[in-house]
């Protein structure tokens, strides 16, 4: 009787250990993405690219897919203006707020996905200033107990000039790939074609509706 109870307690401990690990995983993944944002803000490109798995992918807007940590590093540097860092040139503002995470851990706890909201304040003193808004749908992977970014997928919705804001934006006509990556082509084109604001695009949700369990599409 007592031996049976004891065996049940041992099983319960094992189950709660797995449960605690899932709660810790949730926090570790949020920490990873928030750390990415704080590094990008301050021009710490190497620290940011080191958050990716060796074989990770990076995809920004319709710029195509960059595969592998070194290629990702180069894409991050070029998109930010080319300064090698760590640091930023005088007058560059490069703030990228990482907000509103929805994190979904896989059943086996070795992979996860996350939706994030980004608000950005970018610009160059004496020249230009912009507000930016967009959504991430990222994938994460736990390797030897450490969470890494397996795939970063950012869907910019707009980058609007400070003067006049988003009301000044006109429909995008044709190719809107980032000029900063023109001389550094991706490994493959983007699978998702879309138009930014004032067009309406809802980045696909990685997770079903929290209450109905059904897929949510626009």
């Amino acid at each position: 009787m007592s031996a049976e109870r004891r065996r049940q307690i041992e099983q319960r401990i094992a189950r709660l250990q797995a449960e605690a690990e899932r709660r810790e995983d949730y926090q570790a993944i949020i920490r990873l993405q928030r750390a990415y944002g704080f590094y990008i803000d301050k021009g710490y490109w190497r620290e940011a690219s080191n958050l990716f798995a060796e074989d990770a992918t990076f995809e920004h807007g319709v710029d195509g897919v960059y595969a592998g940590r070194e290629r990702i590093h180069r894409a991050i540097v070029l998109l930010a203006g080319g300064n090698p860092g760590p640091g930023l040139p005088f007058g560059q503002l490069h703030e990228h707020f990482q907000l509103q995470p929805v994190i979904t851990l896989s059943e086996d706890g070795t992979t996860a996905q996350g939706r994030w909201h980004q608000l950005s304040m970018t610009g160059q003193y004496g020249e230009h200033a912009e507000w930016g808004e967009g959504v991430y749908e990222n994938a994460y992977r736990k390797e030897a107990g450490v969470w890494k970014i397996a795939a970063l997928r950012f869907y910019p919705n707009f980058v609007a000039p400070y003067e006049g804001g988003w009301a000044t934006l006109q429909p995008v006509d044709g190719d809107w790939r980032s000029p900063a990556l023109a001389d550094f082509p991706p490994d493959r084109p983007s699978a998702t074609a879309y138009q930014p604001f004032p067009a309406i695009f809802a980045p696909p949700f990685h997770y079903p509706h929290p209450v109905t369990g059904e897929e949510v599409v626009r």
Partner: protein, 442 residues
């Protein structure tokens, strides 16, 4: 004897299991409310309404109260057609949660804020406000039981807040609500303080902890103690987040007594370049003498929105560090409007089981006038003499804000490599030569 030992072990496991279940509820409520934001962003009204319980209520500003999922769906859809029309913008950044899960894990309440980027018919707006919501655990599925959004500010993009304030709309004539507004108030230039569902995290009643028998001397006790510690560290992290987010909500409304109550006698506060203030009494003076009278003031907004926290709790659970950012919306009819972007590297500590702010250290990144923007104007760092009262100690770090570059060191190693980030490379160009700066000042 043996049964008593097993009873004690099980009592500890019951407490751990409930603690972890309440952590999972935190996650579920975060998912629920953040999904609401993502759905309304894109005009997914049915998906947003499906987050509510059958008998839920919904109230937005002065809309009045709508009851039941179908009525809520119709009320949300007053914004426009399903999926939004081209050129309509409805972005809701849903942030700064303070979630309180009931001890029995069946209900919860939460305070959140929304920053809103909005456009309709070519007219752009900023807006901001606070949620005080309730949630229900319906057989293991969390749902929104009541949503109440209190609008702080709606303004024309070009004119900004104060000069460009736009009043809230009243109840719809097309779809009258089921009940009138539960609270009648106005947004800027008027001010209103939505009640907090929770007491001050330091001076208020602390969450009750179950009384447990001592952990018996048993082979399994070590595993159980380790699990209890892990659960407690998760709760510690949440407690530090609540502390920092409460700081922001209290500063927003100039609740200086509640702000200073988050500090203790040997805490320090250092904001911008104003120097160091020692102890909670000086924190109160800093706020009350330096920043204005207590309580929200008409024709003024001083939002200090606390975002993106990275909290690191020590192994023993007695101290913690936190890197945060504040997104500042400031200005009044007597002082210019500004945007502010501020960083924190803070220290927290547990005093008699309660987390308090040990050191608040807030170097500014960028402040600009709303009328100009950061490409045209940057407000320099505040100095010890910039406004009363004088500090107790000189600033611990001298730096220049944007358009110069300063990076407060990260308190945590890189989460993947485990190594600390190097100092910035001066060749990157943005690090000002402080020696040259000092000479220029002479």
């Amino acid at each position: 004897m043996s049964d008593q030992v097993l009873d004690a072990l099980e009592a500890h496991l019951d407490a751990i299991e409930l603690g972890l279940a309440r952590q999972a509820s935190h996650e579920a409520i975060e998912r629920l409310q953040r999904s609401y934001g993502y759905y309304v962003d894109k005009g997914l009204w049915p998906a947003a309404a499906d987050l509510f319980a059958d008998d839920a209520s919904w109230e937005w500003g002065q809309s009045g109260v709508y009851r039941g999922r179908e009525r809520i769906r119709a009320a949300i859809a007053l914004r426009g057609p399903d999926g939004l029309a081209q050129g309509e913008l409805n972005i809701h950044f849903t942030c700064q949660p303070i979630i309180t899960v009931a001890p029995d894990n069946r209900t919860a309440k939460a305070r959140w804020r929304n920053d809103i980027m909005w456009q309709s018919n070519g007219e752009g707006r900023w807006s901001e406000g606070t949620f005080e919501n309730a949630y229900v655990n319906d057989g293991g599925v969390w749902k929104i039981a009541s949503l109440h959004f209190y609008v702080t500010m709606i303004c024309d993009y070009d004119k900004g807040w104060i000069a460009g304030d736009i009043p809230m709309e009243g109840p719809s004539e097309v779809l009258p609500p089921d009940a009138p507004q539960s609270e009648v108030y106005a947004s800027l230039p008027e001010v209103y303080l939505p009640l907090y569902h929770y007491p001050n995290p330091v001076t208020g009643a602390q969450p009750a902890r179950p009384a447990l028998p001592p952990l018996p001397d048993d082979a399994l006790a070590e595993d159980i103690a380790a699990l209890a510690r892990r659960t407690e560290r998760l709760e510690d992290q949440r407690a530090c987040e609540k502390l920092q987010r409460s700081y922001g909500y209290y500063v927003d409304k100039a609740m200086w007594n509640d702000v200073s109550d988050l500090f203790v006698a040997d805490s320090t506060l250092e904001i911008g370049g104003r120097g160091v203030f020692l102890g909670k009494e000086r924190v109160l003076q800093y706020m009350g003498i330096g920043l204005g009278p207590t309580g929200p003031q008409r024709e003024q907004i001083i939002n200090h929105q606390q975002f993106q926290g990275i909290v690191t709790v020590s192994e023993d659970g007695q101290t913690a560090r936190g890197r945060w950012r504040a997104f500042v919306i400031g200005g009044s009819s007597w002082a210019p409007l500004n945007w502010g972007d501020c960083l924190y590297e803070n220290h927290y500590k547990k005093v008699d089981g309660v987390w308090v702010i040990d050191k608040l250290h807030a170097p500014f990144t960028m402040y600009t006038l709303y009328s100009e923007g950061w490409h045209k104007q940057a407000t320099p760092n505040t100095r010890p003499e910039s406004f009363p009262p004088p500090p107790d100690l000189a600033p611990t770090v001298i730096y220049l804000t944007y358009p110069n570059y300063y990076c407060e060191p990260f308190h945590y190693p890189n989460p993947v490599t485990g190594k600390n980030a190097p100092p910035p490379n001066p060749a990157a160009g943005g690090v000002a030569d402080m020696a040259a700066f000092a000479r220029a000042e002479d």
